[in-house]
Amino acid sequence: MTTDLDVQVWRGDSAGELQRYVVPRGDKQTVLDVVTYIQRRLDPTLSYRFACRVGMCGSCAMTVNGKPRWTCRASVERVAEAGSLELRPLRNMPVIKDLAVDMTGFFEKWQEAGGRFVPTSTRHDPIAVVPPSSPARQAADAGIECINCGICHAACDVVAWDPAYQGPAALNRAWTLQNDVRDGDHGQRLRAVASGSGCLGCHSMGNCARYCPNSLNPTGSIAGLKRLAVKAALKGEL
């Protein structure tokens, strides 16, 4: 643990370049610790995002040695290769500066894919009873722990090839809502996700599921949407 880490960090916007820093290794050090060390001790102009530091908020994702990761939970010991780290901003989103990307487009896609809960009752109605063992509730459960980190979106090659593609995070969200019996927008949401830039664009290549830090399976959620879309199309409802 006495050796130093050789860290290359992306500086600038999309036309930037890598800059080298030497950071001392520490016990239980995370990649976020490394970035923070650089910003506090070596170069205060470095821009990056974080908030919770414990894997809850989803704001700290970066590309670490080529793979998208949540940096607050990525231990240096596990992800450094030959004592070095290469840190770049997330892929598939415009770089604002250094390690911070513009996630506006990412969140707009959530809206496009109908990622908004549409209530069917008001606070004056009795609380809806959703049996935890019902298949719909279990399907929703499997996808609901998303922290909006954008890692799956950055990992997906279809997003890279087709900027209009709604992407794994938005579609996973749509799938959880399609399985929410309290939601009143199933028909319109299905039309939104079955559109040209929706679930049918997915090639099931599984990068999203591979890198989701919460081990969600957007590939599986999208497969669920495809099934719904085909069923609706067969019934002439699309």
């Binding site: 290359q8 890598l18 040695n65 080529g66 793979k67 998208p68 290769e81 290469e86 990992a155 090659d157 090639h203 099931s204 290549m205 599984g206 990068n207 599921a209 591979r210 890198y211 399976n217 590939t219 599986g220 497969a223 669920g224 495809k226 099934r227 085909v230």
Partner: protein
């Protein structure tokens, strides 16, 4: 290739991505072959040309290429069935099993053809 470009490629080094690549490459390969296939079908209208062609296909190298073609077909068929299973049967983390079954079936078909052809 620079180290970081390699690292970025490594992001895709997992079974589901390889399954996607193989499916795409076999699909494109088969699409390229299709016109040749029709050309040969057209030859059948001329018995003498067809005979000459069949003699040509007896060469080991052509046989090998044919085997490859059968493997491509089998790979693409199995990959397609895998996708249908993944996307139309309820999901239960059997993704890797399906990939393994698909590749197993494709290799088996290729070997079967080899045995039959030689």
């Amino acid at each position: 290739m620079t180290a970081s470009a390699l690292q970025r490629l490594a992001m895709r080094n997992h079974p589901a991505y390889w399954a996607f690549v193989v499916h795409r490459v076999s699909g494109v390969g088969l699409a390229l072959f299709l016109p040749l296939h029709f050309l040969v079908l057209g030859l059948m209208l001329e018995p003498r040309a067809a005979d000459a062609f069949f003699r040509w296909t007896e060469q080991p190298l052509v046989k090998l290429a044919e085997t490859l073609l059968v493997v491509l077909l089998a790979v693409h068929l199995a990959g397609g069935l895998r996708l249908l299973a993944l996307e139309f049967l309820p999901w239960s983390d059997r993704q890797k099993t399906w990939i393994a079954i698909a590749f197993g079936f494709a290799l088996f078909s290729g070997l079967l053809f080899l045995l039959a052809a030689w």
